[in-house]
């Protein structure tokens, strides 16, 4: 069975640009969460979606937005990129309380 998949794997953007990251959850999982992991730290919660509804939001600016589609896949959008947005962006899917992560998208902002 496929686990959580994310695309692209790597991305390089310039300050001020916008980026869209994509995630497909494990089949049957209806909840998707997004995390940001800066080098040397643990993942920080950004959003959780369940059945296309936003269920939670972490302490991130409005430049960060997300949505979930009817097939439970999800997109994370970041506008007006800053150098500090460079990080590994992780998607996790869950059914119940267990949470499983994808491989992440490495975003580099120059």
């Amino acid at each position: 069975d496929a686990g959580v998949t994310q695309s692209p794997t790597h991305l390089i953007k310039t300050r001020g640009q916008q980026v869209t990251l994509r995630c497909s959850p494990i089949s049957g999982h209806k909840s998707v969460s997004w995390y940001q992991q800066v080098l040397g730290q643990g993942p920080q919660f950004i959003f959780q979606y369940y059945e296309k509804e936003e269920r939670g939001r972490g302490n991130f600016p409005d430049r960060f937005s997300a949505r979930q589609f009817p097939n439970y896949s999800s997109e994370l959008n970041v506008n007006a990129l800053l150098l500090g947005d460079s990080a590994l962006y992780l998607c996790a899917s869950s059914s119940g309380n267990e949470q499983y992560f994808g491989p992440g998208t490495r975003l580099t902002v120059t």
Partner: protein, 112 residues
């Protein structure tokens, strides 16, 4: 691949020895915990979980201990192998809560 946790606390153990990784959590309302293993350039991998109504849970070569009184969690790895080298994170959550809060991580280095 890139390195995760360049300046993390490091635990070095000899191959074949047992490893104990500790984690202090902050939210007394947290009642569900997961240990994750993260290898360089990869996403966190689920190892084992425990609910607050338990104080011990065992998996294959791993044991998680929970002490709610002092808000402490530990992960024990038996007969540590080179493939166990990675950064280990504990994550806490209120049952069906919105998000997991991750600890700072510990780098486990297995010496031959």
């Amino acid at each position: 691949g890139e390195s995760v946790g360049l300046h993390l606390p490091t635990l070095s153990v000899q191959e074949g020895d047992n490893s104990i990784i500790n984690c202090a959590y902050s939210n007394s309302a947290s009642d569900y915990f997961i240990w994750y293993k993260q290898e360089s350039g990869k996403g966190p991998q689920f190892i084992i979980d425990i609910r607050s109504n338990m104080d011990k849970r065992q998996g294959q070569r791993v044991t998680v201990l929970l002490n709610k009184t002092v808000k402490h969690l530990s992960l024990q790895i038996a007969a540590t192998q080179p493939g166990d080298s990675a950064v280990y994170f504990c994550a806490e959550n209120e049952y069906y809560g919105q998000n997991f809060v991750f600890g700072p991580g510990t780098r486990l280095s297995v010496l031959p």
